[in-house]
């Protein structure tokens, strides 16, 4: 825990769809430079909570404060500019674009560029500095060799890495990673865990990780929050929450793992 003031503060967040309470009174904090796992069985409401944080969904109740700024009412792009980076459960890549261009969109956005007059004056050419920053992120994630490849030609695993690199290119204060290891093999998952650790420890980026691969969660996170059916079951270190009988009942039991 690097700082006493939470970077991301969720208080009593609720979201329902019709009669289904997808997220119910969720309250927890994430501190700067910290890595928190958000785990729970399918349908627990983890991705819905991510969508509430990023602005894709509007919670009915509760407060979400990021870096001292209340996020209520802010559109997604403004939240991203505050320093919230994200990867998606269902891969969201820009079809027809190369991997390098993916990161360039993020890099330009980070710099706050994108004015039409600059394009019309031919002042939007890629600079050496931008190239170097993009190359550094590609190197960090381990996909330098794919830089000029169109994402159309990539498999699911590499697309997930592209998403991660793209999110990191914005230099977020917090990275919300939604099942990043889905579609990756064991070696790739291990490498991804190493990347997340590096991002957290060397760059000081907080990580909020949704993941079903509990071995990876155990390897990456400092703390874990467990959700089930929209509600928060437990919070603590990974070992603590895994030892919680409620968690074992709702989560591990369902997966057929005997504790």
């Amino acid at each position: 825990m690097a700082d006493a003031t939470p970077l991301l503060k969720l208080h009593n967040v609720c979201k329902s769809f019709g009669g289904i309470q997808a997220v119910s009174s969720i309250t927890f904090d994430v501190f700067a430079g910290e890595s928190v796992g958000l785990v729970g069985p399918n349908g627990a409401g983890k991705t819905t909570l991510f969508n509430c944080v990023c602005g894709q969904l509007r919670p009915e109740q509760g407060d979400i404060v990021f870096d001292g700024v209340a996020l209520t009412g802010l559109p997604t792009y403004k939240r991203a500019r505050l320093g919230i980076g994200r990867t998606y459960q269902r891969v969201e890549v820009f079809m027809d674009m190369s991997v390098r261009d993916h990161l360039m969109v993020a890099e330009r956005s980070r710099r706050g560029e994108g004015r039409l007059w600059r394009d019309l004056c031919n002042m939007s050419k890629t600079t050496k500095d931008e190239e170097e920053r993009v190359d550094a992120v590609l190197e960090l994630v381990g996909i330098s060799q794919l830089a000029d490849t169109s994402v159309n030609a990539l498999g699911l695993g590499n697309c997930r890495l592209v998403e991660l690199a793209r999110a990191l290119a914005t230099e977020p204060k917090i990275l919300l990673a939604d099942e990043p290891s889905s579609g990756l093999d064991l070696r790739e998952t291990s490498e991804l865990a190493a990347v997340l650790r590096t991002v957290q420890r060397e760059r000081g980026t907080a990580v909020l990780l949704v993941e079903h691969d509990l071995a990876m969660v155990a390897e990456v996170v400092d703390r874990a929050v467990v959700m089930d059916l929209g509600a928060m079951l437990a919070e603590g270190t990974f070992d603590e929450v895994m030892a919680d009988p409620q968690v074992r009942d709702a989560y591990l039991g369902q997966m057929g793992i005997s504790a």
Binding site: C54, G55, Q56, P75, T76, Y77, K78, A80, R81, G85, R86, Y88, E92, V93, F94, M95, D96, M97, S98, D101, H102, M104, V105, A106, R108, S109, R110, E113, G114, R115, L116, R118, D119, L120, N122, S124, D148, T149, S150, N152, A153, E163, R166, A167, T170
Partner: protein
């Protein structure tokens, strides 16, 4: 009450025919995911042939009904599915819309080519026991004749049968299941293609039925009347969220009745009569688009099996060998220089006019390259924006004596402002919703501003006078001067489009085409990017509109109506909507083709109609080649050429590597 009923009852037959087409739209959308703009055109085709057979060849109504509704309607539906829509069932909504728009544009243009231009006056109904000339009874003083009875009774029977089919049969269940993915229902052992074909056959039968029912209600009819039918049906289907058949039918009847009620109560000489009543369907449509949030999610469905589809092919310029690229670049410059020299020296005046028309239209088409090619959104009002630019400049010159070219810049700014207003109204709309909003806007402008004599000079338009150009000697509609002016503006427009595409805005738009959610998640404001591209597109269309009207020497509302907006989309899609050369080839190709056909074909065939038909059929190839049929042919011929002359191993390897890395690159 009696007066109200007297006004309301005449609207019921109109409402019934609107209801049939609205139900067709819902049925097809539910079963196939295609929003078929062409149902109105299918209805018109059936009515056209029905009336042609009964009026000119003495067929009875029943015989003509069998041919046009029972046979032709289902055949059209089957053919559309088998030849076009089956191949794009997994494509995005833009592809599906483009194909149906091509049919909407192509079918009404094809009829005069086949049958010759006809003045049609329908008096025959399809049910022999209901005589249109006999008043069977009166309600509230309104005579109920055979037209009323046949229209209402047939509509009710058909809607009841359709509801039973969809709700209580296994076929109906399979139709509803097939909408998400035909391939998915096939995995369950259902003949997905067969189910969807039945949906097409049924809906096309109903569209044809609506057409022949609608014709005698109108009496003398034109394809314009069927535009009203289509838009009203679209508005009704929109209020039903493209889901509920009863709501679609009810809203359609309501609009029909409301129209005649307002016609009854509002004085024909008032502004509201002229402006509001023709705009009623558009008002309903815009209302639905603005007020029903679920309409914004229409394109959200994705085929779960979409990931097994191969990526779209790359454009030729991204994969050709460097040596080939150099040859092509040099070749283009040689052709360009030769074209310029020829235009200024030996090309006859008639052909100079043709090429000038092509160049000026290319500028308007570049505005579609911006919106559709770069932003991936379909705008169906680009001709309207061009008209805004042209009329503004013409009226500023006419009333204030402002130089036409200076007025052109102001006109472009007004067109840009109009486009921004439209973008703000449709910020939350994408794909189909945006296309419908822009179409409604174009039709609304046709019915209001473009219909106002004080603005547009009436159907004749505003004649452009040479003195408005200031330098009479140079710009006196001289073909060479116009060529230089058009070419100069076109080059500027091309540079603007290329700079934007290669710049940050272009990259952001390309990202938004892939995933707007993820783009916003990176800190890019998608709404602002859309407003920027709409504004730029409006300005380019506005300036192009003025130049094109300048070449025609008249600014006429019929030149820039909603129909022409659809034609513009069809033109540029046929060549390539993603490249600037596609817009130029479409603009010049359209007028060159028309000129050639005018020269070689007899006048009765109608070269203009046939040109539109040819491009419409060309646009249908968008289904197989979304990069444009010319772009597809370019890629093929480039590959053939490279195989013949550049087969060196190293280069072949390089080609292969670039083809992989650029796979799917569209710009």
């Amino acid at each position: 009450m009696e007066q109200f009923l007297g006004f309301a009852l005449p609207g019921v037959p109109y409402g019934c025919t609107y209801a049939l087409v609205a139900v067709c739209l819902v049925l097809t959308y539910q079963a196939t995911g295609v929003f078929n703009f062409a149902f109105g055109a299918q209805a018109f085709a059936s009515a056209f042939i029905f009336t042609y057979l009964t009026e000119f060849h003495g067929w009875s109504g029943f015989e003509a009904f069998l041919v046009t509704v029972v046979a032709l309607g289902p055949i059209m539906g089957w053919a559309f599915d088998r030849l076009i829509f089956r191949h794009i069932s997994n494509s995005d909504s833009t592809t599906k819309m483009v194909c149906s728009l091509a049919l909407l544009v192509g079918i009404p243009s094809l009829l005069p080519v086949i049958f010759g231009a006809q003045n049609l006056d329908a008096t025959v109904t399809i049910l022999p026991f209901f005589n249109p000339n006999v008043v069977y009874f009166t309600i509230a003083g309104t005579p109920i004749n055979g037209i009323y009875l046949s229209t209402i009774s047939v509509t009710v029977v058909v809607l009841v049968l359709l509801t039973i089919l969809l709700r209580y049969t296994s076929l109906g269940l399979q139709m509803r299941a097939a909408v998400e993915s035909r391939r998915l229902v096939q995995l369950d052992g259902v003949n997905g293609n067969g189910v969807v074909a039945v949906a097409w056959i049924v809906s096309s039968f109903m569209a044809s039925l609506a057409g022949v029912l609608f014709a005698p209600v109108f009496g003398a009819f034109t394809s314009e009347d069927y535009v009203t039918l289509t838009v009203t049906a679209i508005a009704a289907a929109a209020w039903a969220l493209l889901r509920s058949l009863p709501i679609a039918a009810a809203v359609a009847v309501f609009i029909g009745v409301l129209t005649t009620v307002l016609q009854g109560y509002i004085s024909p000489s008032s502004f509201f009569y002229a402006a509001i009543i023709p705009s009623l369907p558009f008002i309903f449509l815009v209302g639905a688009l603005l007020l029903l949030p679920k309409l914004r999610e229409l394109d959200a469905n994705r085929d779960p099996l979409a990931t097994i589809d191969p990526p779209p092919p790359p454009i030729a310029a991204t994969t050709r060998a460097p040596s080939m690229d150099r040859i092509i670049r040099v070749g283009w410059w040689v052709i360009f220089a030769g074209f310029c020299v020829s235009m200024l020296t030996w090309i006859p005046d008639a052909w100079t006019t043709v090429f000038n028309n092509g160049l000026t239209l290319s500028i308007v088409l570049l505005s579609i390259t911006l919106i559709t090619g770069m932003a991936g959104q379909l705008s169906l009002c680009q001709a309207t924006l061009a008209g805004v630019g042209a009329f503004t400049a013409a009226q500023l010159a006419n009333h204030l004596g402002l130089n036409l070219l200076v007025g052109g810049i102001l006109g472009a700014l007004l067109a840009a402002a109009t486009a921004v207003l439209l973008a703000l109204l449709s910020l939350r709309l994408r794909g189909l919703g945006l296309a419908l909003m822009t179409l409604a806007f174009a039709l609304f402008m046709d019915a209001t501003f473009f219909n106002a004599v004080s603005i547009t000079g009436g159907p004749e338009g505003v004649s452009i006078q040479s003195k408005w150009l200031g330098t009479k000697e140079f710009f006196n509609f001289n073909g060479h001067a116009m060529f230089l002016l058009s070419l100069g503006v076109l080059i500027v427009a091309v540079i603007v489009v290329l700079l934007v595409r290669r710049g940050t805005v272009g990259r952001n738009l390309a990202a938004m085409r892939g995933s707007e959610t993820a783009t916003a998640g990176l800190g890019v404001n998608p709404s602002w990017q859309r407003i920027v591209v709409f504004a730029l597109s409006g300005a380019v269309a506005g300036i192009g509109g003025l130049l094109h009207s300048l070449e025609q020497q008249v600014v006429s509302p019929t030149d820039w109506n909603a129909d022409f907006s659809l034609v513009l989309v069809v033109l540029v899609v046929t060549t390539s909507v993603t490249t600037v050369e596609g817009a130029i080839q479409a603009g010049i190709g359209f007028f060159v083709t028309e000129q050639i056909l005018t020269t070689v074909l007899p006048a009765r065939i109608g070269a203009s109609s046939l040109t539109v038909v040819l491009f419409a059929f060309g646009a249908l190839t968008y289904a197989q080649h979304p990069e444009g049929v010319l772009e597809y042919q370019k890629r093929r011929s480039t590959q053939r050429f490279e195989r013949l002359f550049f087969a060196r191993e190293a280069e072949a390897e390089e080609l292969k590597a670039r083809a992989i890395s650029a796979s799917g690159a569209n710009g």
